[in-house]
């Protein structure tokens, strides 16, 4: 028997197994409800589906009034941060196979920001503290005509981690200090300040360090690591905050 012949063709591929997954979603319709309420939905899902697919199925096939934000659906735009089984995650990056589907999956809006409808919160306080740290390049020097500012690979490496932020608010809304005290800058603002403080092309590090050396600044951080756990981009948020604390004590980055 020649070895080159095809063995038995694989038996007709077994249909990919699907599961019925129960989702408990915290609904809130400001026109009708005074308090948020939990509503359950049964959705047919594959292990490779994401929580966002489940939300789509619910919205498209079961209840069109379900409201949530999503844009790119691929973990880049940062629109669909939500609390999934008590942890802040991007719905578009959370696979069904990584969740325990023997129990219902709880989905609710992120905490600490004003709830507007279903899974949508008012992000304005979050972006207000982001704006406060002046997250843009402030340079006193002008590069040579026709050239860009040169930066060595090593200097770029210092703040590489914090350039990855997509402003989804998963970290800030996982922070217990932020939950009780909305005045706290929150991890995301500090991460984005870190990105410019440690950038050697930027000349306003001292301004930002001064802003974060506030009563409501980095010193409120309790290093609970909730933010590092929540970050969908894997940024070491708590480490970045600690580096900003060190920089404030040194008085320079």
């Amino acid at each position: 028997m020649s070895s080159a012949t095809l063995e038995q063709p694989p038996a007709a591929e077994a249909a990919i197994q699907s599961f019925t997954v129960t989702f408990l979603i915290r609904r809130f319709d400001p026109d009708v409800d005074t308090e948020p309420r939990w509503q359950d939905f049964d959705v047919e899902m594959y292990a490779t589906d994401r929580v966002l697919d489940a939300l789509h199925k619910i919205k498209w096939e079961q209840d069109g009034s379900l409201t949530f934000r999503r844009s790119c659906a691929h973990g880049i735009c940062g629109s669909d941060a939500m609390r999934i089984n008590g942890r802040n995650r991007l719905a578009c990056k959370t696979l069904i196979k990584d969740l325990d589907i023997s129990k219902p999956i709880y989905v609710e809006a992120i905490k600490g920001l004003p709830l507007e409808k279903d899974l949508i919160v008012d992000m304005e306080p979050f972006f207000a503290s982001y704006r406060e740290v002046q997250p843009f390049l402030i340079a006193n020097s002008t590069p040579e005509a026709g050239k860009e500012r040169v930066q060595s690979i090593a200097k770029r490496e210092i703040f590489d981690d914090t350039t990855k932020c997509i402003l989804c608010a998963a970290c800030t809304s996982s922070c217990p200090v932020f939950w009780t005290d909305g005045q706290y800058f929150g991890p995301a603002a500090i991460v984005n300040a870190h990105r410019f403080i440690f950038d050697d092309r930027d000349d306003a590090a001292s301004v930002r360090l001064d802003i974060l050396n506030d009563k409501e600044g980095v010193w409120r951080c309790r290093t609970t690591f909730n933010c590092t756990d929540a970050c969908p981009r894997g940024i070491e948020v708590t480490k970045a905050i600690a580096e900003v604390k060190q920089a404030i004590m040194r008085g320079k980055p």
């Binding site: 406060e132 001064d210 506030d214 010193w219 309790r222």
Partner: protein
């Protein structure tokens, strides 16, 4: 007509100049923590392990320790550092779990009072402790006091 704010205007008033208590509180927690490690474990070692160990602790043992300025200062330092460290820790917990308002002020106020009272009392006791106060009836004095 409303005026659009300049894009780089500060959203919250700039921090007042001068010492930043939150920063110094944060530094204090770390510095006192390291010193307290030495002080507390030294205290436990000397009291519980050295010599006869825990059986040696009685009124006379404490009286003997507080007759020595070294142990007086050791204990007073431990008292101050630990109480301020603990009270500041409780303050941050109050900050984390209550919203600004009367309750928060009340809780922080009681923390301050408790810490101050304990520090003042403790310091007074350590430095003025006399196991054999003059003029006390002999039956109330410990056996090692010289007979008057």
């Amino acid at each position: 007509m409303s005026v659009i704010e300049a894009p780089r205007s500060q959203a919250r008033p700039a921090r007042k100049r001068g010492v930043n208590l939150e920063k110094w509180g944060w530094i204090y927690m770390r510095a006192s923590g390291v010193v307290l490690l030495v002080l507390i474990f030294g205290h436990l070692f000397v009291n519980l392990l050295v010599g006869e160990g825990v059986k040696a602790i009685d009124f006379g043992f404490v009286g003997g320790k507080w007759a020595d300025p070294f142990w007086q200062w050791w204990d007073v330092l431990m008292l101050w550092l630990a109480l301020i460290h603990g009270a500041n820790g409780m303050r941050t917990i109050v900050n984390d779990y209550t919203n600004p308002g009367t309750t928060q002020k009340l809780l922080k106020g009681s923390l301050l009072v408790a810490a101050v009272v304990l520090i003042v009392l403790g310091t007074l006791v350590v430095f003025t402790f006399d196991p054999c106060p003059a003029g006390s009836p002999a039956d109330l004095l410990p056996s090692f006091c010289p007979a008057v």
